[in-house]
Point group: C2
DNA sequence: GTCTATATGTTGATAGAC
DNA sequence: GTCTATCAACATATAGAC
């Protein structure tokens, strides 16, 4: 009996991907069990409910996003950090146009329920708003939260359009537009 | 036996609302039957499958949106028409912040399936892109489709943020920003 | 800790009386 | 055209042997 098993990790990994590709409601626990190579009955040893697993999925996304922002902060200045963030979105534009933005998917779907899971998903988007606000603030701009709101609105809408029409190009173009907008602030 | 029954209409009405509030996947046919006062077994006389009903729902949304755009066109000029469109979004900002944009909800959720229903939902968003593009074109702007893309991106992203944080204000603010952007084109 | 078998409920969809 | 009764499949979740 191994003291540590990688089953929990494999379950979360599979759930992260399947929730993104099919949505939370349309992904069954047997789907997740199958994709992670864990028998269905054993899932409940690691997660008492499906919501519990979703919670772990969101935690993983929060951690992943935090790492991404830390990577962006390696740039020379806050404006370059914002540009690096936009470059990252463009980098993922293929996945986003195929399956939609994983964060938006969770926020949109879970906010239809009245579950506590919705609030948890909202933290994800809140984290991104907070980070971009901070970059505008460091740039010395006034009303940084309004600027962040506009940036995130535009890029999230671009993700929706890119997904709907299967055109990653839309994310590229709107990211370029946002860079120019930031330059002219 | 009435030659015409309003049951079909009541079913579509209930489905339009429930799909918006709970999503397509999380709305059961018995929910719809209950809310429209039609026995479950009778639903299948009007719609052979759930997808059939969804098709009728999207048709209804297409028609509703077309009427809305025709209303916007009563303005004096294409720029005023665009402003009227933005005013309409602000008017619905309460509903949108509660349940999300009904069009985005459908596009996002149905594009997770590989169903033909996804293409049908995409027509909805395409209709809006097409109309706004036409307004920019009538204004004599170059690259009108790019302008439409940016306008729709921003407002759809604003809807997501407004829904996530339950802040209709976000739709108001981004609509105002877009008006100013259009003024300075 | 792991897995098989199964309980329990809900879904989309059908059969058939009226 | 309308409605009751019900099926078959699938969902989440549990029991209990190993």
């Amino acid at each position: 009996m191994p003291r540590t098993s990688d089953k929990r990790e494999r379950l979360v990994d599979a759930a992260v991907n399947l929730f993104h590709q099919r949505g939370y409601g349309q992904t069954s626990l047997s789907d997740i069990a199958e994709h992670s190579g864990v028998p269905l009955g054993n899932v409940y040893y690691y997660f008492k409910t499906k919501d519990d697993l979703a919670n772990a999925v969101i935690d993983e996304r929060i951690h992943h996003q935090q790492t991404m922002f830390q990577h962006c902060e390696q740039a020379n200045n806050p404006q370059a950090s914002l540009f690096k963030f936009l470059d990252t979105l463009v980098e993922y534009s293929g996945d986003i146009s195929r399956y939609g933005c994983p964060i938006a998917s969770l926020c949109q779907e879970l906010n239809k329920d009245e579950s506590e899971l919705a609030n948890k998903a909202d933290i994800l988007l809140g984290q991104a708003i907070k980070w971009t606000t901070q970059q505008f603030k460091l740039m010395g701009k006034s009303e940084p939260s309004k600027l962040s709101q506009h940036l995130m609105s535009t890029m999230h809408g671009a993700s929706l359009l890119a997904n709907t029409f299967s055109k990653p190009r839309i994310i590229k173009e709107e990211a370029a537009r946002m860079k120019e907008w930031i330059n002219n602030l």
